[in-house]
Structures are given as structure tokens and as C-alpha cells.
Symmetry: C2
Subunit: 158 residues, 2 copies
């Protein structure tokens, strides 16, 4: 793990925290090209009323718009949680050079947890690094779901 990986992951965590404040499952992402952040996004599924509005998708789309192209071989995507099949598929479709993620996702993770999309002959030259700031990312998610459970319990009739 490079020092810069941790630095950029902190930026992705900041996006996850912003998402949490909006009531979204806290996942954040930043895209880095040439050592600089070119796009950043957090999960907006609920507030955006959009099934595809995962942090990775919004971040890759902003990245394509910023760079004016769909091929992102020179881009590193930092994301706080292991990508789901949609997002891992988008990473391959965009030919993203490298993905760095934090916590594993045992319920939807497509990079080794539920399945491993890299095992199939897709366009999968992407390099992967996992576990960067995994503790912080996991804590954000656990806190979010614990708070949501408490709120649901309070709303339950006696």
C-alpha cells in the first residue's frame, strides 16, 4: 500500500461521510489521473431516486465527462467498499487502470466476496488493491446501519 493510496482513500471516505449525512448508505469514491483527483462522488441511490447512482458509477461518469473520453486506462478509482457487479462491470467497460477499495462487501461484492468478475474473460486488465482504510470504511457502514436499526425500532408501534 502506497502512502498516496491512503491519502486518496481519505478523500473517498469524506464522500462516504457526506452520503451518510444525506441518509444514503455511506460509500464514496474518487478518480485520480496524473496524481490528481479528477472526479469525486458518493452514493445517491435514495436521494437521486436512481438505481444506478452508486458512488463508483457517478464518479466514473464524472471522470469520463472531465477527461472527455470513455477509456480510462490511466485512471485509478478509489472506493470505500468492494464494487458490486454493476460497478465492477463498469470498471471493466471503462478499462480503468487500477481500483483501490476499502472494506469487503459480503452481500454484493463482485471482486472476490460473492463472486469474482475478474475470473472471466471480460476486458479485465484492471489492477486491484484492497483493504486500504478498510477499518474506517467498515465503521462508517456499521454505524449507519446501527443508527438506521435504532430509528426503525423507535418508529415501531408498541
Amino acid at each position: 500500500m502506497e502512502k498516496t493510496d491512503e491519502m486518496f482513500m481519505k478523500e473517498a471516505l469524506a464522500e462516504a461521510e457526506k452520503a451518510a449525512r444525506l441518509g444514503e448508505v455511506p460509500v464514496g469514491a474518487v478518480a485520480v489521473a496524473d496524481g490528481r483527483i479528477v472526479a469525486r462522488a458518493g452514493n445517491r441511490r435514495e436521494s437521486g431516486r436512481m438505481a444506478t447512482a452508486h458512488a463508483e458509477m457517478l464518479c466514473l461518469e464524472e471522470c469520463c465527462r472531465t477527461l472527455g473520453r470513455w477509456r480510462l486506462e490511466d485512471v485509478t478509482l478509489y472506493v470505500t467498499l468492494e464494487p458490486c457487479p454493476m460497478c465492477a462491470g463498469a470498471v471493466f467497460n471503462a478499462r480503468v487502470g487500477r481500483v483501490v477499495y476499502g472494506a469487503k462487501d459480503p452481500s454484493m461484492g463482485a471482486c472476490g466476496s460473492v463472486l469474482d468478475l475478474r475470473a472471466y474473460p471480460l476486458h479485465t486488465n484492471t489492477e486491484f488493491t484492497s483493504g486500504v482504510c478498510a477499518r474506517e470504511s467498515g465503521e462508517l457502514l456499521r454505524d449507519f446501519f446501527a443508527r438506521r436499526r435504532r430509528e426503525n425500532e423507535q418508529q415501531r408501534p408498541d
Copy 2:
């Protein structure tokens, strides 16, 4: 195969033809709710300079905007080609009720060709029907790639 499946797939084929005229790989999709088309889109990866701009993604996103929600249990998505991992993942994330597709995609298909995402414990209650207007869909794709090969050969120096 219902008669209406064929009817809606013809609309998806019309979107694929529009995509071809823009120089895009010809794939088209329509989303149907309550017996009516609520969203339609064709592949725009090249012209949109957007890695995620597959027909299915654009169509599901328009569908979420039109219906004002991310859960699409009552929606049938018609698409001319077997969805890739990104698009099949989006279908599950959106809880799409039913997917009807045309031709198989031996290079990227995630519904049985390269892999079968339905085999994993994701949110996969979606019902699938394949082979509707598969011949027309396949011909559109073959014609497109044959034309592109001819154009590339003409551009080659002697």
C-alpha cells in the same frame, strides 16, 4: 413468447438502428410499465464519450427519472442484446421485474454466455426471456461490424 414481447422488441430494435446511424454498436432498449413504454434508449458510448452509456443503463436511468423511484419491480426491460455484467448488475440493483433480450453476446454476456450472474445470491428475482427477435438483432450487429471492417480496410495504406 408473447405477441407483445415481439412488439416491444421492435421498438428496442428501432433504438438500435438509430444507434447504428450514429456509428454506435447497435444495441437498443425500451422499458415498459403498465403496458406502456416509459423509457427508451440506444447505446451512446462513443458519441457520449461515456463508458457506462450502454442502452440498458440509459434506459433504466430514464425509467427511474420518469417513475420517480429506483425500485422497478413492475418494469419489463426489452433489450436487443444479452446484458453485460454492468447492465445485468444494474437490472438486479433496480429490482427489475423482467428482462426480455434478443441475441446472445458470446463476448460480454452475463446472463449465461460468458458468465451467469443469476447463479449468485444477489437480488436476483428478475425473470428472464431470451431469443425475442434474436435474428434481427444479430443481423444489425453483424452488418455494423462488417461495415466497420470494410471502412477500416479502405483506410489502410497500401
